[in-house]
Symmetry: C2
Subunit: 323 residues, 2 copies
Amino acid sequence: VAEAPPRPYTYGETQASIVAVVEQLFAPAVVGLPLLAREQVRARVGRTVGNPTAKAALDMALWDAWGKTCGRPVHELLGGFTDALAVSHMVGFDEPAAMVAEAERVRDTHGITSFKVKVGRRPVHADVAVVRALRAGLGEEVELYLDGNRGWTATEAAQALRLLADIGLSRVEELDPADDVLARRWLVQRCPVPYVADESVPTAADVTREVLGGSATMISIKTARTGFTDSVQVAGLCEGLGVPVALGNQVDGSIGSACALAFGASRRSTSLLPAELSNWMAMSDDLLTEPLTVSGGRMAVRRGPGTGIEVDEEKLGRYRTDR
Amino acid sequence: VAEAPPRPYTYGETQASIVAVVEQLFAPAVVGLPLLAREQVRARVGRTVGNPTAKAALDMALWDAWGKTCGRPVHELLGGFTDALAVSHMVGFDEPAAMVAEAERVRDTHGITSFKVKVGRRPVHADVAVVRALRAGLGEEVELYLDGNRGWTATEAAQALRLLADIGLSRVEELDPADDVLARRWLVQRCPVPYVADESVPTAADVTREVLGGSATMISIKTARTGFTDSVQVAGLCEGLGVPVALGNQVDGSIGSACALAFGASRRSTSLLPAELSNWMAMSDDLLTEPLTVSGGRMAVRRGPGTGIEVDEEKLGRYRTDR
């Protein structure tokens, strides 16, 4: 939690406020419960609305502690489907040549062949040019997909999709706002590839609303907002609905990425697509005694018990902002 | 598995065929996998269609073995929400006076105050008379609900519900066939209490179809057909959809009932309503070294590791039919 995010948390939670919520609200409600009374913990912290990141951190800490107690890694406790995930990498806004160079560097250094391209600028032609340049530079075999962070209108997004019809995109995410309800449905209905809902589906109930409302055809699961337990619930919901899922990234540092990796590897549905696990690479330092690694485009699960990570206490003392 | 069921298994599986499926199909596919590669096991046995009971037995055996390995009970591993469930008891077809006497005996002996009444005979008046007699004999405070096993048409079911409008039913289950698609929707739309889908929803995908199709407003979860892992998936689906669940019984013996109990106690949504856990009481013997008990209308979870039960090897040898 000491790694400074490059922009505010999605839910307006700051590091200090998460600590305050955990210490002042949640700890008094759950201290004394057995480690395996996870659903009791969930019910009690659920009495407080919002604060998904604090709830997720608490839930993942419980799983980590249980894994360390019984000596097994969390990805096994959650299902143990596989032991590595393909990694996708986010390419941020820049000139086409610079974005191609960055993607090439990541591909050549880490073997990553899946790229999420940030779009949403207007007019759409600048982003269209970037995507075309990436396809030309990286070849036909890499995965390219878009994330608009609601930057376009539905009309603009549809225009961009038409201009990119020959580019072989695999999926697109939040190109336009879900709150433009009917325009979003219109766009999703016409979208030739899965339309991923992310910030519009922070809870399972939101998944139901957006999917049944025709505003999404794929769901991004983020352990930073639904922890392990609620992520299992969302995955069960999506599997039961027949809606594919992708593993998203909330500008997670190394700790958060290790958590996402453990969850994603635990079941089939969350391990099918390249997962967004690389944001920690852009950070100047981390809190782990043993850093994360990407090899051949994949991240292997940590073999140690729990989340398999150990926090460097010296660094934690140096970076923490809450005391 | 050695307890003779009073009627054929819902899915046409016999005890011998379950054993054959496990030994000949599933064992070769999964032997050698780690105990915690549960989702790999699920994926491999999932290549065979059908056979839910055999798949469920295998899944629950994995959880039981893991619980026994790490020394914790399955209800804790699955979430640890509570330590006891209220029990409902099924009252089978008989004359009204005999059914009231049986319900009174169960209430006075075990403290059970929730009764599922089997209905579905025609004309509807015989069953209506039984339900009226039960309410008159047992008082206002017991829970009474109906299970038609698809015996009525939608028209007959609607007639019965009108005749019983003042009886205070809490829920009704499979009064008419789900395959009478439009008639079923018509009935569910008019039903004043939750309409439980059971045999029409053996899988998560069926839950989605029936709920979104308007053919059910509550879902029965049975560990005998979805094990622990798929039951978690179905529960996540229902919680995400905002559809309540009930814990059903597939004429489970003591072993199956202990499994259902462990799952039901593990999370909030499955522990809200009295659970169908009493069918073992009608059996002349069981396979456990320590029998199940009901006290004050509740069954307490088994405290031992795994499912908390031990099989009596002598009885198993005596009752088994597969060799």
